[in-house]
Amino acid sequence: MWWVGKRGTGSSRDSRDSRGLRGLRGLRGGHAASRTAIAYASDGAVRLALGGVTQVASVVDGREAALAALAAGLRELPRGTRLRIAVGGAVCRPFLLPEIDGAAGDAEWPAIAAALVEDATGLPPGSPVWLDGGQTSPRLAVAIDAAWLRGIEALGGRALDSIRPWWALAIDASTPSPFSAGLHGLAVADSEMLVLLLADGERYRVAQTYPLEGEAPQAVLSRALVTHDWPDEAVRLIEFDAGALPGQPVSDPLPFSKTVHRASDPSSSKERAA
């Protein structure tokens, strides 16, 4: 595990680290009680931004290290700072529930979703599940790792405003989309995972997570689209900015992301072709 940011010690990163510290010290001296910090946490990376500036950018290995890095960053925040946390696809994964004959009532779907979490997402059984009410067939569910959730809640405490998957923020940031009609999709590559969401109009048809394992997100996406026999022209790829450094401004509208590539952009198509 290596650290980038205010806790880093490498000589090549000293100047960046000092920028992060300066930004944080400046915030601590001011009246920042109503400010909101945005964090990203996953098994491989931790980010923390305040006031539109990245404060912590760490590469970590595993949940414990990530929570420790996040806790260290949160300790430096001004008192009263609210906290919104986005988690990666390794922590929070979407999946579609199959159509089940006889599952009539809404009260049965949470139990069905809970039973399917392990097989559908690979997350441990007992992971909390959020059920989407926007479509009934197939139903979309989102599961989050229970240990991660407990750890984040313990860290955030009363300052915690939100715990959402980063890929859900990517959906928000990408709407309104020119591909909202017909077959379209969104691929969100975060620090470890590629979350693929394919939809027909307003109805999600595919919600799946693929481990990147050091591979280029575009390659993983291309294979996944072939698997699903889905046209890649209307699939948008949003990538996590793995190289962000403390002191850098946070990208807008999706924090910690690279510049958004659109499949329909000629320049993007060229890049992808290359």
Binding site: W130, Q135, V142, I163, R164, I171, S174, S180
Partner: protein, 173 residues
């Protein structure tokens, strides 16, 4: 693509709203408690006053009863009471029905010779002269006819030679 409102953060407890609500509840509890205490005190006072009034009323009733008993014990019948009673009985005596029943009954061989009305006793004694007993009994039967109970009765009948005399009595009280 349709946005997803997925959220895993625990619902925040509205501390300020809860505090305000708690304060409002506390104030309401204090107000209600005070009102209840005042009502209880007032009720106790009213109950005590009612008990006192009831005791006073009982005392007055006992006093009145004692006076009434004392007055009844010391009361003596006035001197005119007996005469008044007689007058009342006389006034209440049905003189007309007695006379009318005698007037409406006539039997051959029976002759009324004297009528003695005794209002104080509520009766009348009629002296008759009769020829034979059969006519006398027929006369009595006619007098009692229509009465729910025989009102007239034979008191005395005697015969001395050719003269026969009887006394019949009516009771009206």
């Amino acid at each position: 693509m349709r946005a997803l409102t997925v959220e895993f953060a625990p619902a925040r407890r509205p501390v300020a709203a809860l505090a305000i609500w708690g304060a409002v509840c506390a104030l309401m509890a204090i107000g209600l408690g005070t009102a209840a205490w005042q009502s209880w005190t007032h009720r106790q006072a009213v109950a005590a006053r009612a008990a006192s009034d009831a005791q006073e009323a009982a005392r007055l009733r006992a006093q009145l009863r004692e006076r009434a008993d004392r007055a009844a014990a010391s009361a003596t019948a006035p001197a005119y009471a007996r005469d008044a009673l007689a007058v009342a009985k006389t006034a209440a005596f049905p003189m007309q029905p007695v006379l009318r029943s005698l007037e409406t009954v006539a039997v051959d061989g029976v002759l009324v010779t004297a009528i003695e009305l005794n209002a104080a006793r509520g009766g009348a004694d009629v002296t008759l002269a009769f020829d034979d007993y059969k006519a006398l009994l027929a006369y009595l039967e006619l007098l009692n006819e229509g009465e729910p109970a025989p009102r007239w009765s034979l008191v005395r009948a005697e015969a001395s030679g050719a003269r026969r005399q009887a006394v019949i009595r009516a009771t009206w009280s």
